[in-house]
Symmetry: C3
Subunit: 185 residues, 3 copies
């Protein structure tokens, strides 16, 4: 991270959300189930960056490491917040799913191809950009082009098995731009 | 809510978004269609909590009351903001849909089961965790694992018939964790 | 925009997210791929407005111009932020997809109608409100009722070909309310 600009740090109102079975706050606790989580006071921060992913072949790809490489340093400065990840394209998609077995990703690609007709039997009017184009648009709306992930103690607060997927729906892949916006304290 | 920590209250810039047919602001107005809504000045606030839902059987379940029970007190302190609700799992999903007739929920479960093949005729490679596991992953990406809801005057600003659903896609249900993040003024 | 209330402007912490191939910040740069983007210091701002869209016939409709007409002036005051767009209904949906060829929108409507059974052959129990009602609920959860779009330099930071669609899933269209929440600096 170059050129960090810290114009001012300032107090702001933060809340300790207690659990039902605890009556005392624990400043060092993580936001785990049933544990209170005290967020350190700091000025509200915004950060935004466009990340360009290299071309990926048609299918579903785990991109959590790539995203973390680009924003991990910035992320580490947020105690509590939200990360918004926005794909600027209409023929690919972002989703959160299993991060371990690559068969889950190829099975998901199989599902998408089975559910959205492609080729001569498909009913599409929009065919100028190739037989895979209209199916790609539909798949993009099915999974969506944006994700919002909670930030806790400098990290994405996802489940153990969750990862961020880029789903490329075109046959001839191209680089894809993602706008990442971080907001928090 | 135990242990609220109010480090400082501070002014910040807020905006009155006027409607086309009104030229005066009304501080007590709700953000209804065509009505201007003036948000009270207060320091920006963040709150975050992990809520554990007990096991729910396979199918779609209305969980708005459960969420409100856990965060309602905190929510009431936000005049304007956003609530982010994040499910930390890849074989269940969150969606917003009808909150009245339970038939809508069971019909939606019927749809999901009809659209995603399961069992011996299914083409999945990922079958180690049971025949319902890969279909569960697919359904999770179809509906998604996260919701963002506007907050207005201390409440979720949803439509009259909208509710938050937890859709459990596994046959053997388990407890599910949800990270709720509130941000606003 | 009537009645803007500027209670105070205040410094806050902002971050310059540098690219890998640049070591100097450029305050006037856009958040383009590989370019650093310095966000101007200003107080955090929240704005919220309910926009009522007139009835649209069943199908997919590009509504970016309508949204911009309602919030464009306010949007222009945000250097960096997020726009949340929330549809308060369970039988219509919002999605981001192609903004140019209307065939993409009609093909998407064709897909939705092919994938969700309607009429006498459909397995739905919830039929009191007409044969198009239960399919409308399902389509609403497939595409979702909410979008979050990054704001950069006073504008939606979407891709060249991206637009916001309202998908009306009922046969007899009605006016639809959308709650727009802007947050940023």
């Amino acid at each position: 991270m170059q050129g960090a600009v810290l114009l001012a740090a300032q107090p702001l109102r933060v809340k300790l959300l207690g659990s039902n079975n605890s009556s005392t706050g624990n400043p060092s606790a993580t936001a785990g189930a049933g544990n209170p989580s005290l967020m350190a006071a700091a000025g509200p921060k915004w950060a935004q960056k466009t990340v360009t992913l290299p071309p990926h072949r048609r299918g579903c790809h785990l991109i959590t490491p790539k995203i973390m490489k680009e924003i991990g340093n910035d992320l580490s400065e947020f105690k509590c917040g939200l990360a918004h990840i926005f794909l600027q394209h209409t023929s690919a998609s972002l989703t959160i799913n299993e991060n371990y077995d690559s068969d889950v990703r190829s099975d998901t690609e199989t599902f998408l191809n089975n559910i959205v007709p492609e080729g001569t039997s498909a009913p599409w009017k929009h065919t100028l950009e190739g037989p895979d184009d209209m199916p790609a648009h539909i798949k993009s709306s099915m999974f969506g082009c944006a994700l919002t992930v909670p930030i806790t103690n400098g990290k994405f607060n996802m489940g153990t098995w969750q990862g961020i997927w880029l789903c490329e729906h075109r046959d001839h892949p191209t680089a894809r731009n993602i706008v990442v916006t971080l907001n928090g304290i």
